[in-house]
Amino acid sequence: MLMTVERVPLRVRLAAAGVDSVTMLALPAVLFVLALFVYPFFYGLALSLEPKDNAVWYANYRAFFSDPFLFDTIGKTLRLAVPVTLLCVLLSVPIALRVRHMRHQRLLTTILVLPITLGTVLIAEGLLNYLGPQGWLNRTLITIGLIHGPLQLVHNYWGAFLGLLISIFPFTFLLTLSYVTGVDPALEQAASTLGARPWARFRHILLPLLAQGLAINFCLSFVQAFSVFPTAVLLGSPAGSTRVISIAAYTAAYEAYDYSLASTIAMVMAGIQLLIVAGILSARRLLYRGPMGGAKG
């Protein structure tokens, strides 16, 4: 008996566990992610703990959190990213609820995909023209008589805010739309038949079903808003109110050539990101506990 067990070749035993030549086809992709994502990440972590000039291992982190020039970038990034992400998520829900009944949905979604494919750099350049003191927006507002002099909308916080809004809203909206269209309309019809008014239907039927999706949507949109870079440089004031954390990382790496500090900033960024994502997902659990059935199926 023992003999036969031993004689089963390794190949066969592995195949029984689901590992054979087909499984090995995943190996190139896995090795690739390990070599170019996992390894650099840990390399960056190690590098951040080896500061220049043989200082203590945590010297970079101490420098980051004690130097207001570096530390304040967190606050500046959050002041830009949190309102934009919140606004995008909050606006996307009522709009998606209307748009799901629309017949020419594809045309609208196509127009909204444009800013995503054009990318942040082009949006920044376009908005520099459009929002500038001689741009069409200021011109129109003056002609209507809403304002007397041009509004200063570029090279400050509001420039970066609007640039970020235009780049992120389409992304948030399309995600919300895909969650909203996943809710079975029969649920709402049933509530309506039982006499629920629109607000009650939204509050007690749709919102609980959408909570999970909206939390994920917030996280994914926030990831993009938090790492805002070209928009903050080109449309904001990169030395002042929109000196965001990615600018600090870039300056450390490519202007000061201090890769150790740059890696530190990248790690701090990843840490904050993780904290916020974890916070949102646990807040969602407080709001609603229960099956997700009916929302996505």
Partner: protein, 283 residues
Amino acid sequence: MIPGMIAMDRSPLALRAWTTTIWVLVGFFILNLLAMIASVVVNSFGTRWFNTWLPAGFTSKWYFSAWAEFQLDDILIVTFQVVGAVVVLSGILGVLGAYALARREFPGKRLVMLLILLPLLVPPLTFGIPLATVLYQFGAGGSILGVVLANLVPTVPFVVLVMIPFIEQIDPRVEAAARVFGANARQMFVHVLVPLLAPGILAALLMVLVRTIAMFELTFFTAGPSSQTLVVALYYAVYAAGVRAPQSIDAMAVIYMVTTMVWLLVALRFVNPTQLVTRVKKA
């Protein structure tokens, strides 16, 4: 079910006002978006534009000057080389990986899936800087190879995730039949699987294409002077605005827009626009 019927059946006035507000918001957003794009296009064809609604006259000379000033032929060649290599390599690695993950259950599969999801959940900037450092250490930084490798980090997982549901739809008995008739693994892939998967592969790779053209951060951190793609060159041009005529920069922006939009239009024939955003979508 008539669309909007539920909404219309009671208290029409408040609902009308609410609906109107929403459409005004959508309209306002789209109007500003299109006006922004139009202002770039108009400026790139304008002679002199100052203090008026439209430029004083129209010309196409900025396209020639932008082409020469920014050496756009070199930049476009680099862009297409990078994008082409990224599309082909992420297609091969991604489809093979997706096939294994769709067809086999093995110990540690959840870990592998998590590993593949991670690069899509972390902003490119956080791993871009350490990755650039590693690439420079191995001598690949600042070269086209480095740019291609960096751009593959989010695209390989993307193709894997998009392809898994497509592969799961194919009946494994089709493959078994091919093997019974004597096809080896390679022949089975080339003559059976790839033709069956063609729509899925096409959709996934077009999305990779559109996203790689617009991918700024990773290219920006890894590119050297001779390996800039169009989007990075555009960034430098806008960043150093004042050095060159603004119309010249906008002419380059229009050239960039045309390269992305052509592919977007091609892509939209095969994919649903929302798919460009939602990565893991059941096919």
